[in-house]
């Protein structure tokens, strides 16, 4: 299938100039390159501008509630491991209301790709500061002096929490973005892709991202070195910070997989029921 065949006929609600258009294009390109079968692919999202994306792609999708894309994707992937499951959303969805799920998804290492389209702002609610907003960004009435707290560090948190693949891309670099999506999908286990995806409606200064993003040191499997690279980076470095596969969860014994409601013979159920039987004294 060609990239355009992965697009649905639903028209995006995004503003002109929104970085998410590029992410949508890059996803369809990556799907085409990987020859994904749309029928066996599911995009799961939360709430926010970027979380609208699943409806725009011609695969199965679940547009859930604010902050909960990761657990929903986790339940689906564990129940149906043969499916290709991608979770996605924005910075508020993933790092604020869904922050706990982000940490535990990194730890758990279920085989899904998580794409966060980070524009450092809550766009859908009209421009409030998000966890990644610069400390002194004073453009929101809700935080007139700026958030006054240092921004959340998604890649550092992901690494500390145990993610085996951590990359950053920029929506203004569609080629690099497509490549990172493919690499993230190929990674066995939880892959975190931090995408700088500008919101020029509320943060017009983000148009400069194109000129300030830069390459990072080569990918490493050394966790300490990766942490050093992440912490030394200014937040605009693009590439893979860390890649080191580890055991994918769940570790099902004997390679058993869940095959749906028809699984489990009546014999096994009868055996399970027998634990309650009381054997009368002779």
């Amino acid at each position: 299938m060609k990239a355009k065949d992965y697009k649905s006929r639903v028209k995006p609600i995004w503003c002109p100039g929104c970085g998410h258009y590029s992410v949508l294009n890059a996803l369809t390109k990556a799907f085409s390159q990987l020859e994904l079968n749309p029928v066996d692919t599911v995009l799961v999202s939360g709430i926010g501008c970027s979380s609208r994306l699943p409806a725009y792609i011609n695969t199965y999708g679940f547009h859930g509630i604010h902050g909960r894309a990761l657990p929903l994707a986790t339940g689906l992937k564990v129940a149906r491991p043969e499916l290709e499951v991608i979770a996605l959303g924005g910075d508020g969805d993933g790092f604020s209301i869904g922050g706990n799920h982000f940490i535990h998804a990194c730890r758990r290492n279920v085989n899904i790709l998580y794409i966060v389209m980070d524009n450092e702002v809550y766009g859908m609610t009209k421009g409030q500061a998000s966890p990644t907003t610069p400390e002194l960004w004073d453009q929101s009435k809700l935080t007139p002096r700026g958030p006054e707290v240092p921004p959340f560090q998604p890649c550092a948190v992901a690494l500390a929490a145990g993610a085996g693949f951590i990359g950053r891309a920029h929506s203004g670099d569609p080629k690099g973005l497509t490549q990172l999506i493919c690499q993230g999908m190929d990674h066995p286990g939880f892959a975190f892709l931090h995408v700088l995806s500008q919101c020029i409606t509320y943060c017009p200064e983000q148009q400069d991202w194109k000129s300030i993003t830069h390459e990072i040191p080569p990918v490493t499997s050394d966790r300490a070195l990766a942490m050093q690279n992440i912490l030394q980076d200014d937040g605009f470095g693009k590439g893979i910070f860390y890649c080191q596969p580890r055991a994918v969860w769940p570790h099902l014994p004997g390679g058993a997989i869940l095959t749906g409601p028809s699984s489990g013979g009546t014999d096994q159920i009868e055996e399970i029921r027998q634990q309650f039987a009381v054997h009368a004294d002779a």
Partner: protein, 615 residues
């Protein structure tokens, strides 16, 4: 004097433990022992808040027929420590000094039990308490245990042989080393001998079970709720630990992998319910179990289950609330949350398990309904049902598996445009064919945003009105289900028209056992009573209830909460229906005697008057 009145009345034994005395496992062993002898029984465990070493108590009620509830009367009270007993004085009260039962309750204290607190002293003094050296004797045996010593003691009191008690202990501790095995066997033997010397040992003897059942089961409500769900097709569970629901989840964690299923321990309840939706969206029947605080956290996602029409089952094992409340004690106080906790107009299914064995039926039904109607089904159980263990006749298998109405098969060559698959198609029944990932030519995006039939988001008024109406309409047939309630009549002999009950007790959930026993008592003194134990709470089975209230002019609603949550709900459904309510919060057990007293105080006189008028 016999403690057991003629007519095979049940026997209740209460044991209040001290730290580490192991009364909970004693209770389980004793229940198993009597089950093996062909008796029925129920075991209630009560704990304080401490994890280890705190006070704990068990109550065991034994009978020759199935027993679902406790009553006020205690036949034998064993106090291992009076200061620990004080924590249970409301749950297992000493009889008032003047009552008949103060002379017929056997009371034994351990010789190291200390003295009852001042407030309890007058009642305790009236009891002629025997003092026996359980703890001391157990300490004398290498590897001895007081609870096993008590098992031997109680086996003798119940006319069960020492050999049978020892066999059970050997099986229970089969992995223990020889020295421990010997210590346990010796403990049982010493307990048995101690009972031989106790003058009142034969007062507890229960009648022989007439029909010794050979196919009985021993299980808790939590285990049976989990089993029922599994039999009905659940293959995925997500879990966040919470008392008193955790053991249902622990059971699933152990059993699901045996049939290709899986349980995920989630990071919180928000994650747990979303994982359930993920699996449900994937076509795999899924559940979670929680209690009040967890249910509150799940409510937002429960709204998503309704809006996105995704099957999901939540077993809510209620405890004392609000907030952290009384985590280890039972209450029926989450009804409002289960019925009304969702945002927006969000019709869903709420069921209540009526007894420990009924946890099996009700939870399986919830799984079937959630799949069939593509929505959320909440099962209300409570700590009493969830943690109590019961001897019952073996339960029949659940034969009906959860099924989704899937779209018609396609060749797989069509595109979505060819088949124009409409996930939220407004059909005659309101149930839309549900495709799952992997189904060809049915690609769609599930959405919590209001959506058109295709699933595409839409804020339009007519779309919203139509989808709201569809989601409500699709649940209508559930109201007509025969499983809506268990209706029983006392006396249970076929009533002639002249003796049709004019009084009814309406209850829901776990108080049903006590309500039936109360009706039995009321009926014994003359007035026939109908008990309507409601299993289906939403959608409300209005017609069925109307039908079963025909000819009834006196209604008592009983429930275990402070505000009468069900009563208010009932009044909203039947604004003109006159009824009285007795509601009592946990953790005090709502017993048959209390219900009968409340009923008689309210109705009996009037009902007698009516009968005289008719005569």
């Amino acid at each position: 004097m016999s403690i057991i009145a003629a007519g095979n009345k049940p026997v209740t034994i209460v044991i209040c433990g001290s730290g580490g005395s192991g009364v909970a496992s004693l209770g389980e062993l004793l229940l198993k022992l009597i089950a093996r002898r062909g008796y029925y029984g129920i075991l209630k465990k009560s704990f304080g808040p401490q994890i280890r070493g705190g006070e704990s108590a068990v109550a065991l009620r034994l009978d020759t027929k199935p027993v679902h509830a406790f009553d006020d009367r205690i036949n034998l009270l064993i106090v291992l420590n009076w200061s620990n007993y004080a924590r249970f004085k409301h749950e297992f009260p000493l009889p008032p000094k003047t009552s008949d039962s103060s002379t017929s309750m056997l009371t034994i204290q351990d010789s190291q039990a200390g003295a009852p607190e001042d407030e309890l002293k007058p009642m305790a003094d009236a009891l002629s308490v025997a003092s026996l050296p359980f703890m001391e004797k157990a300490q004398e045996v290498p590897q001895g245990r007081a609870n096993i010593l008590l098992l031997g003691f109680l086996a003798r009191c119940l006319n069960i042989s020492l050999k049978q008690a020892q066999n059970l202990v050997t099986q229970r501790f089969r992995n223990a080393d020889n020295e421990t095995q010997l210590g346990l066997a010796t403990s049982a033997e010493i307990g048995y001998a101690l009972a031989e010397q106790w003058p009142d040992k034969d007062l507890l003897t229960i009648p022989q079970a007439q029909d010794r059942h050979t196919d009985s089961w021993l299980a808790t409500g939590n285990q049976l709720a989990a089993l029922g769900a599994l039999e009905a097709g659940v293959r995925f569970a997500a879990a966040y630990p919470i008392t008193p629901a955790s053991d249902a989840l622990e059971w699933l964690a152990q059993e699901l992998p045996k049939i290709g299923g899986h349980l995920v321990q989630a990071e919180d309840e928000l994650a747990a319910i979303n994982m359930v939706l993920g699996a449900g969206f994937g076509g795999v029947p899924a559940m979670t179990a929680t209690s009040g605080p967890g249910l509150a956290l799940m409510t937002e996602t429960m709204g998503l289950a309704v809006a996105s029409e995704t099957p999901a089952v939540v077993l809510n094992v209620m405890r004392g609330g609000p907030s952290t409340g009384i985590p280890t004690k039972s209450e029926q106080a989450d009804l409002n949350l289960a019925l009304f906790g969702l945002h927006g107009d969000a019709p869903h299914i709420v069921l209540a398990a009526l007894s420990i064995p009924d946890c099996h039926t009700t939870s399986a039904w919830a799984v079937q309904l959630a799949s069939q109607y593509q929505t959320l089904a909440i099962v209300l159980s409570d700590q009493f049902l969830g943690h109590s263990m019961q001897v019952m006749q073996s339960l029949g298998k659940i034969n009906e598996q959860a099924r989704l109405a899937k779209p018609p098969r396609t060749s797989g060559q069509e595109t979505a445009e060819d088949t124009a698959y409409l996930r939220y198609l407004d059909t005659a029944t309101g149930i839309s064919p549900m495709a799952v990932p992997g189904d060809p030519a049915c690609i769609y995006t599930a959405d919590g945003l209001e959506h058109k039939e295709s699933g595409t988001p839409s804020p339009e008024a007519d779309v919203h009105a139509r989808q709201l109406e569809k989601r409500q309409r699709k649940l209508e047939p559930i109201r007509k289900s025969a499983l809506w309630a268990e209706v029983s009549q006392f006396p249970d002999t076929p009533a002639t028209d002249a003796h049709q009950p004019r009084a009814a007790i309406i209850c829901w959930g776990s108080v049903s056992g006590a309500a039936r026993e109360a009706a039995q008592k009321i009926a014994e003194s003359g007035d026939p009573v109908r008990v309507i134990a409601m299993r289906l709470l939403a959608p409300f089975p209005k017609r069925h209830l109307e039908e079963s209230l025909r000819g009834i002019d006196s209604i008592l609603v009983v429930e275990q909460n402070h505000e009468g949550q069900f009563s208010r709900y009932l009044a909203s459904q039947f604004p003109a229906l006159p009824f009285a309510t007795y509601c009592q919060p946990g953790p005090q057990i709502l017993t048959a005697s209390i219900i009968a007293r409340k009923f008689n105080a309210r109705f009996t006189q009037r009902s007698r008057q009516n009968q005289e008028d008719r005569g």
